[in-house]
Point group: C2
Chain length 157, copies 2
């Protein structure tokens, strides 16, 4: 629950690798799969989805493979997530998936949960695969919650 799928993990690993190889560097499925011990067939499917969504460019030929189509800075974790798994919604009633929610009429907590969801999506969008491969120091103040907020809010400990 509230967990990234293996496919997303695989996509992030592959993209991170390609981000380090760029620019224009080509990696093929077999090599990446071998490096990370990923079943090649699975990674192949994942890469195809990334390709269809326009994040990477395929080179269908011997010595071919994939290369980044846009700069690593512009590929957010959220984009990867959506490309691989479709629309994200922590509450099923808010992403169009569940049209038959039995609680919808009586639901009195949807609004704050959607707000919570927006925050999570915002973080996913703010983190690029470029930053994925960088040392914590670079990220400091961006994704480290404890230093991100000026005031303690209502955080209960």
């Amino acid at each position: 629950m509230l967990k990234l799928t293996k496919k997303v993990d695989y996509a992030l690993l592959a993209l991170n690798l390609m981000a380090r190889n760029e620019e224009g560097g080509i990696s093929n499925v077999r090599d990446i799969a071998a490096l990370y011990s990923i079943p090649p067939e699975i990674l192949a499917k994942v890469m195809q989805k990334l390709s269809k969504s326009g994040l990477i460019q395929s080179h269908n030929a011997p010595k071919g493979g994939y290369s980044l189509k846009v700069p690593a800075e512009e590929i957010s974790v959220l984009k990867v997530l959506v490309a691989v798994e479709g629309p994200v919604g922590i509450v099923s009633c808010s992403d169009g998936t569940d049209r038959t929610c039995q609680q919808r009429d009586q639901c009195d907590i949807r609004s704050p949960l959607e707000r919570l969801q927006n925050n999570i999506l915002w973080f996913l969008e703010a983190l690029s695969i470029r930053e994925l491969g960088q040392e914590p120091a670079v990220l400091k103040g961006v994704t480290d919650g404890s230093s991100l907020f000026g005031q303690p809010l209502h955080h209960k400990g």
Copy 2:
């Protein structure tokens, strides 16, 4: 993927209701289930977990039911989530669930992902079931990402 389960939804609805009824107000499973069209047996299990985790108090008797054991302000969404579904981890390798991760040795994105996870957990901890039932206005500046941060960071649009 990255979605709250129905059980968590049910728990939040029930707790939100009880938070409005307090203090010491008692609600029973049958009534709550009827109000929100939740299968009573399911809600019963959920309530038992909330009870075991110490968030609510059971009153096993006719005219009995459950009441909040601690103030609504002190019950975070994260606590509810953990009580109902166990430890949370958006990356399976970081919550002790997956001890056989094939990518662990070669994984070069774990650190930033764990950071991302911490941010999400932080938000879940910062949102209490008291706030769940309040109007958006009260939450403004707390969970609304767009107004929460002073600077735009690297947010790509």
